[in-house]
């Protein structure tokens, strides 16, 4: 909707949002704004007038926005729409935000894109519940530029005294949440007073009209001077090189710069910024740009990692104090487990504590056991994985996220402060070093992590390899998913969080064994790339991801544990490859395809691979373990 205006076509339209309590006249204001700035397509008004007539309704300006039939029937605006208009100065895009309480999630969707807001208040009714709630959310979302439209002045006889009363009320509230409105404007949207034209009936008012006030808004500055934050979105191959792709959230990056990867801490220099069909390669790129970077060194990176400026990396923490806004019908309680997504990271979190729930009416906040739907609260989130977050106040784009439950977005959060882990743990240096152990064993300790579908042959290959290595005199141990679930992981099920925890514990056990010089063969389905990356992070050097691949059809036929048939009949929930996903490794160190051929071939290949990775040089060896080679 809204004609595309000609002026100033070379710059982005300035995004604004119109918020306020239901029935205070937001849609009318938008309709009038379009008309009075001459931004309506030809025929639109006539079409709506005739539709209104056909339905026996008196024409309302708000019909312009009620483009969907159901909205007209229900008399409320259902969802975010996008509408363009222009003033003499520039183009605007209105993200229409609805006022009904049920639709908070839509308002957040709209307002999160806005650089400025018009808060509409009914002159007769004054500040209402949604007025406060919307204003509070603007503040949470970082929309600081606000004008207040005191609407329906015609219903209070254009009384200046009434304006002053409403003004006192609203500026008082806004002041407490740190918003200073640019103007408080008496308007009558229905009659077009002080929208684009100065009112003739409110001559006592000397301030700006709505369009004049909007023209005074400044664009939110692009965070190009903040430290570099580039969440890794993906890694693409270009021939034999790898490019890390993602969008720069803040800062800038140039060819030759040193960058640091969280969580591994590895550093490298930017070798190139890759593009397609560009006349000149980019030497530098800044906040907002989507890039593909090659580095001068191959460092392991996956989606969810973060490239940063080495001199100013984000805090690493496992707990974070956040302000949450909550959408889910199920109230938020301490102990609840969810997924948190920020940048491209996707981590499991637990609500460690609900510190305070904010009453947006009174702005009181007090202790509470839970957060109701549409509520706002201060909460501590904890994760077993490290989090890399900035304070929202310092770097908004790197200090915010969404909360997910199953497949649903249940809330959003902004970071108040990362919490230092005070764990009172000091690592003790052991008196026997890893190289000493490895020398005695005659080989290095390492972890070979076999991932693949159930029935792909992981256990068979791991067991065969175990036997062969043991017979050759190696220190070797098998960690099998099923066996571990019998003891260490007996408390865990198969939901997403439990699978992650299962792998985390297994990875820590594998690491202890590898540090003591043992070769670990870990055979676990480990379907999620994120969990495997976490295992790699926990183990550190000497971690090898082995993808045991077989087509799911083949696995189904083999079905060594009878699980596929159980899954097919619905008796096993979330079974990988059937009712739960398997994310194929994109950067596996070794792929063993077992679709065709005897398992002996894969065992042979893995034994050779282990030997190459763990065998010590001639001078380092002792004993007769090298016999394998003969």
């Amino acid at each position: 909707m809204g004609a595309y205006p000609s002026r100033d076509a070379g710059t982005r339209a300035f995004p604004i949002v119109i918020v306020g309590h239901v029935d205070h006249g937001k849609s009318t204001l938008v309709g009038r704004l379009l008309h009075d700035t001459d931004s309506l397509p030809d025929g639109k008004l006539d079409q709506l007038r005739s539709v209104s007539e056909k339905r026996g309704l008196e024409f309302e300006w708000s019909f312009l926005l009620d483009a969907l039939q159901v909205e007209r029937d229900q008399g409320i605006t259902v969802d975010v729409t996008q509408i363009w208009f222009h003033t003499a100065q520039r183009r605007y895009v209105i993200i229409d935000a609805p006022g009904h309480k049920e639709f908070l999630k839509n308002m957040v969707t709209g307002a999160s894109r806005a650089h400025g807001a018009v808060l509409v208040v009914d002159a007769k009714v004054g500040v209402s519940e949604q007025t406060r709630r919307h204003a509070y959310l603007l503040h949470l979302l970082g929309v600081a530029q606000v004008v207040v439209a005191v609407n329906k002045m015609d219903l209070v006889q254009h009384d200046q005294q009434r304006l002053l009363e409403v003004e006192r009320e609203i500026t008082g509230y806004l002041g407490e949440i740190g918003i200073r409105p640019r103007a408080v404007i008496p308007v009558s949207a229905r009659n077009g007073d002080n929208i684009a034209e100065r009112s003739t009936v409110m001559g006592w008012y000397r301030g700006p009209t709505i369009t004049q006030a909007l023209d005074g808004f400044a664009r939110r500055p692009s965070p190009i001077d903040a430290p570099l934050r580039l969440p890794v979105q993906d890694v693409y191959r270009i021939g034999d090189r790898r490019a890390i792709v993602g969008r720069i959230e803040s800062g800038r990056v140039s060819v030759g710069d040193t960058v640091q990867l969280s969580p591994t801490g590895r550093r490298a220099h930017v070798a190139s910024i890759e593009d397609w069909n560009r006349s000149q390669p980019r030497e530098t790129a800044g906040a907002g740009e989507s890039v593909a970077l090659t580095l001068d060194e191959e460092i392991f990176a996956v989606r969810g990692h973060l490239l940063t400026a080495p001199e100013a990396p984000p805090a690493e923490c496992r707990a974070v104090a956040v302000r949450v806004f909550w959408f889910d019908e199920e109230p938020l309680r301490a102990g609840r487990r969810m997924r948190a997504r920020y940048g491209t990271a996707d981590v499991d979190v637990t609500v460690a504590a609900i510190e305070k729930v904010v009453d947006v009416e009174t702005l009181d906040s007090g202790p509470a056991t839970h957060v109701e739907r549409n509520g706002v609260a201060e909460v501590v989130l904890r994760s077993t994985q490290p989090l890399y977050l900035d304070k929202f106040a310092d770097n908004p784009r790197a200090g915010r996220g969404v909360l997910m439950n199953d497949y649903k977005v249940v809330g959003g959060f902004i970071v108040e402060r990362p919490l230092q882990a005070s764990r009172n743990i000091t690592a003790i240096r052991t008196s026997v070093s890893r190289p000493e152990r490895e020398k005695r064993n005659g080989h290095r300790g390492a972890v070979f992590w076999l991932t693949g579908l159930s029935g792909s042959g992981k256990s068979t290959i791991a067991n065969g390899t175990l036997r062969r290595l043991f017979d050759n005199g190696w220190q070797v141990q098998l960690l099998d998913g099923d066996n571990l679930r019998d003891g260490l992981n007996a408390d865990l099920g198969f939901v997403r969080e439990d699978r992650a925890e299962n792998l985390r514990r297994t990875a820590h056990v594998a690491r202890l064994l590898a540090e003591s010089g043992v070769i670990v063969l870990a055979a676990l389905i480990s379907p999620y790339a994120r969990d495997r990356a976490e295992a790699r992070r926990i183990v550190g050097d000497g971690f090898y991801e082995i993808h045991v691949h077989a087509d799911v059809e083949v696995c189904r036929l083999r079905d060594p544990k009878g699980l596929y048939s159980l899954a097919a009949s619905g008796q096993v929930a979330s079974f990988t490859g059937v009712s739960a996903p398997y994310e194929i490794p994109v950067q596996a160190d070794l792929v063993l395809d077992t679709t065709a051929g005897a398992p002996e071939r894969s065992i042979e290949a893995l034994v050779g691979y282990v030997n190459d990775r763990c065998g010590l040089g001639v001078g380092e060896r002792h004993g007769g373990w090298g016999a394998y080679l003969a």
Binding site: M1, A67, T81, W84, S112, L141, S222, P581
Partner: protein, 264 residues
């Protein structure tokens, strides 16, 4: 960065999210200007190649110029094309108004392809400014597998933290051009020299502003014979872009009905 740079960067980000997070994905290629821009953006996002199939829902009723364009650029752009024929009109809901019924063949063609190839993600080049019901869309928009769109209960979407994971039995429509406008598209086509079907340029005082099937798509009065003239025309034009698409005008809610049932 100017406004086109911002739009381009955002679309590339969206395309990379879609490709990285959805396992079986395809892009709809209607052969119109918007979907050509989308392919161009995909080539930028994936450094020169389009790593998923492009799908033309073929009713057999496109203009000859449109087919010629398709056959040429499939080769030049190195695309993996799926162009199965859409189900015939006889299989389409007879209660729909005639023009909408013709358009609904595409919806049926899409459902057919979803079932046949098992895609759980479809990238489509719709824009919010095209049509009022499209203005309601999300960038990542979940659909039940029959394609229905529940516009009353759309998921929240904010801060570009898109949700790409939906329950089994759902597919996702991804809309990388959602925030572009018609004139943005043409200015970008001009900047990047992206080829388009020649029917967009005026001949004998008429040009197609929006391309669809023969019989339900009509040209507008125009003398805009090149991109500069089109951009100039759009900066003053006061009629909606889809005015020449008959199905939008069958009845007041025709297009909405199409979309709820799964139309793009």
């Amino acid at each position: 960065m100017d406004d086109l740079d911002w739009l381009e960067a955002e679309s590339i980000y969206i395309l990379r999210e879609a490709y990285g997070r959805i396992d079986h994905i395809a892009m709809l290629w209607s052969l119109g200007k918007d979907s050509n821009v989308m392919i161009w953006l995909a080539k930028k996002a994936f450094l020169g190649r389009v790593p998923f199939p492009v799908m033309h829902l073929d009713t057999g009723l496109e203009f000859p110029e449109t087919y010629a364009f398709r056959d040429r650029y499939v080769r030049e752009w190195g695309l993996e094309l799926i162009n199965d024929a859409c189900p015939p009109i006889e299989e389409i809901d007879p209660s729909l108004p005639p023009n909408s019924r013709l358009a609904a063949r595409k919806t049926a063609g899409l459902k057919q392809a979803l079932a046949k190839y098992g895609f759980n993600g479809i990238i489509a080049g719709i824009r919010r400014d095209e049509q009022a019901t499209r203005a309601k869309e999300r960038v990542f928009s979940p659909r039940r597998n029959q394609g229905e769109w529940d516009f009353r209960d759309q998921p929240p979407e904010f801060w570009d933290l898109y949700n790409a994971e939906f329950p089994p039995g759902t597919h996702v429509r991804v809309h990388p051009l959602l925030h572009w406008t018609e004139v943005d598209i043409w200015r970008y086509i001009r900047r990047e020299s992206i080829p388009v079907v020649p029917l967009y340029f005026a001949q004998g005082g008429k040009r197609y502003r929006s391309l669809g099937e023969i019989g339900i798509t009509f040209p507008i009065d125009s003398n805009a014979g090149d991109i500069d003239a089109i951009v100039a025309e759009l900066e003053t034009i006061r009629t909606p872009e889809r005015a020449g698409r008959a199905m939008d005008h069958d009845s007041e809610d025709a297009f909405e009905r199409l979309r709820v049932a799964g139309y793009m």
